[in-house]
Symmetry: C2
Subunit: 490 residues, 2 copies
């Protein structure tokens, strides 16, 4: 038996004892270690392999538990390959280590005040319009909808989107547009086309976990840019561009998730100047476009870009129906061509029934009417959230003041931890997402996200009142450190 051929990867997330037991199990299954043969004593094998004896013992124990080995006191451990039939393949050793575990969050009770996620509740007229649109789409164009379609998107929808993007200054003649299965897929395709494992990407910090984990899963180095009341800091962006030489910078200039912050016009211009200087592409995630409740819309990065460096992502998810997975991407033609090729390999194309239904709703002006309704509702909810925060929260609690979108970001005074607050709030029927969900390079354990867009104004006030009561009770613990200045909103 050539034991010395066993080698181990100490950099692997799989523990050494497990690597050893997997190799031995392989030898048993392949008959290299035949049934009834005796394994080396743990001390001896440990010496041969330069391992700790307890490591080898743990490997033998794992094999014994799997029924591949039988230990006889005083005689040693014997291969028992008949037991091997019962042993299933050890998948855990086969997974790519870069895949992050999905964030786990216990589901909210049905009757709780849910500030953790945003559930749309379309009104009756919108439901009727949707049902009609589905029937009409099938009546008018079933032959095309039911076939395999173009990877770049269902023709009528794509043309409608293109005109809209051109009119808004978000598409130039040298650009092209592809339909994606939401913004999330836009990012996934960009990672595939533009970022190799080991390369760097800059994203906001905090950021919604889907953006962070997508790049991490692809083996990409993800570096966070702090987010203040007015979005990322261009001074830090400049430093990080110089230091990391990233392949992409991903930003959400409007109503960023989770902070709700928006980037002012001058900062947008500066982002573009830096992008040009460092020749670094910018991905503009504009998933909350159309959901401004106060003030005037600011020009997108895409519309201000003169260098062809901005890739623009948008979706019907927040502005229409999240369950229909349809978004789009406007990019310089060379990039769009690659994204379309990657899209074809990823899922051929986005579902055509939903594309056709959304096209009908868009072309008939229904989506615009629905969006006005969402804005009116959202505006009332934002006002309720901000006034409840002002009226009820302890003065030491900082909160963002977004002008649109769905989320508010709260910063608790040190040393309070938002996860502790959540545990207490749950008991009172209130849930939210603690800041740690959104960590990139920094810890946000003292912060939390309140998603106001899915609750009625009175629910919002009641929920924030619960949090305020809990915080007032906890405040003494924090007072020692919260004096002496307003903490920065990050």
């Amino acid at each position: 038996m050539n034991w010395q051929t066993l080698s181990f990867d100490s950099g692997s997330p799989v523990p050494i004892y497990r690597q050893l037991s997997a190799r031995l199990a392989g030898w048993i299954r392949e008959g290299v270690l035949p049934d009834g043969s005796r394994l080396l004593p743990t001390r001896e094998l440990a010496g041969l392999l330069g391992l700790n004896r307890t490591t080898v013992a743990a490997a033998y124990e794992a094999l014994e538990q799997d029924g591949l080995l039988k230990a006889h006191v005083g005689r040693g451990s014997f291969v028992c390959s008949t037991g091997g039939r019962a042993v299933r393949f050890d998948w855990e050793t086969r997974f790519r280590p870069s895949l992050p575990a999905p964030p786990s969050f216990p589901p909210a009770e049905p009757d709780s005040l849910n500030f953790a996620s945003w559930r749309h509740r379309p009104s009756g007229w919108a439901m009727t319009a949707l049902r009609d649109a589905a029937g009409q789409a099938l009546d008018r164009d079933a032959a095309a909808i039911l076939q395999l379609g173009p990877s770049e998107g269902y023709g009528p929808l794509r043309e409608w989107l293109w005109s809209g993007m051109q009119a808004a200054g978000n598409a130039r003649p040298e650009d092209d547009l592809l339909v994606t299965s939401g913004c999330q897929q836009g990012l996934d395709l960009l990672a595939k086309v533009l970022v190799a494992p080991g390369e760097s990407v800059l994203i906001e910090d905090p950021v919604y976990p889907g953006a962070r984990d997508l790049f991490l899963a692809a083996g990409v180095q993800v570096h966070g840019l702090a987010v203040g009341a007015e979005g990322i800091f261009t001074t830090e962006l400049e430093q990080e561009l110089a230091r990391r030489r990233p392949r992409l910078v991903v930003v959400t200039p409007n109503f960023q998730n989770p902070t709700g912050a928006s980037l002012p016009l001058e900062a947008r211009r500066e982002v573009l100047r830096l992008a040009a200087r460092f020749q670094t592409p910018i991905v503009e995630n504009d998933v909350y476009a159309g959901l401004r409740y106060r003030g005037e819309d600011l020009p997108t990065l895409k519309s201000l870009d003169t260098e062809g460096l901005v890739i623009y992502l948008r979706s019907f998810s927040k502005a229409a129906f999240p369950g229909l997975r349809v978004g789009w991407c406007v990019a310089p033609r060379a990039v769009a061509r690659r994204l379309i090729a990657a899209k074809q390999l990823t899922d051929l194309h986005t579902d055509q029934l939903s594309q056709a239904v959304l096209y009908r709703l868009a072309a008939d002006g229904i989506l615009e009417r629905y969006l006005s309704e969402l804005r009116a509702t959202g505006s009332a909810r934002l006002e309720a959230a901000l006034s409840a925060c002002c009226d009820l929260l302890p003065a030491e609690v900082e909160f963002s003041a977004p002008n649109g979108g769905a989320h508010l970001w709260l910063h608790l005074p040190a040393p309070l931890d938002a996860s502790d607050l959540l545990a207490r709030a749950r008991d009172h029927g209130v849930v939210f997402l603690p800041g740690r969900f959104f960590d990139v390079s920094r810890s946000h354990s003292g912060a939390l996200r309140l998603t106001f867009a899915g609750l009625e104004p009175d629910q919002i006030r009641r929920g924030i009142a619960v949090l305020a009561d809990l915080l007032h009770a906890l405040a003494p613990a924090a007072q020692g450190r919260s004096e002496g200045g307003v903490p920065a909103l990050v």
Copy 2:
């Protein structure tokens, strides 16, 4: 000017001169090379960098064309950064080199006999049923359908699929099921979870380009397994498992695309024995399930698997409506959990409207009725294709004899090239896909795929008659080599 810091990657697909021009352009844009400064003469810079002078000259020329450099005869080349404004970012240098160009195929004329792709044409009753199902799905469950849903799939559809898979022996208690956006996404998720760049995968050769290119785009080594009249050869599989130690083997045991070949029962068992011996996961792509026109269904690899090594992929695409992108995957629970996590990062979840519509069609028995109709139609078309091949093609042309699916594979006698045949056939209004589209490790330039499932029997006969006439005219060129034996069908 620190010219020596310029270094080049000779392994990159970007030519050296272009790497040099990109670096210099960066220096010009960043002001490192200020406006009006003189570049080193090409000979001098070439000497410093150890490059050929023509390489440096080509880089300068590119910069001049971009307006970043101005050459003055006898004085040298001067930076002209004002021209830099007009220069757009050079995206070509930023794309990941592993992304293969999508196969290009000129579109078929509308009135041509199209053997290149399969267009479903649902009958009237199916269209009505579909329209009703869309209305009912929205009437019954709009609140859930329109929200963000679970990454593993829309609950009612997932449960229905799970029962069906259990009943068919394709799911065991230790398995789990997730809904995907077609089989293509199933493969994409598997690549993400189980295969790192540089690792190996075995697939059939020929194979449909989507499977091959997906892995190539992920930087994976793709090795082909020859396909004969009865699918892959287990002797070659054994050799390649030993030689390549692949992370996955991807096979389509039923009506493989493009050959139409099916793996006999004994070969299925041998594939599983080899998988167990080499502890290698098998991905069973059963996208043509339900489309058998002759004989009895064979057990799937998944149903025969006792080791928990088979991952099963299937879709509504071929058996219902390709434009609705809904498929599914049954896998050991640990794998399914990872796939669901990867799915969430890829596109959150599959479109819920289509999932709900397909669930209604499935639950009401409509899909089964529709599939029977597809089978009846497909059977007549297969018979027409085979009898036309028998009656009309020159004896030297070999063709596969599938029992289901959509495709027939023809092997022309050497030295005929299927691309040449296609050029002539186009002139007579007949198109098909030449074998080279499906190459993995071998050349299939003498073969071609005839997709019979989308044409009426009389169209099929007419189209094959056109090919037969062309081949009879070409045959003399081939006769010298086609004598002496029947070529192997690969």
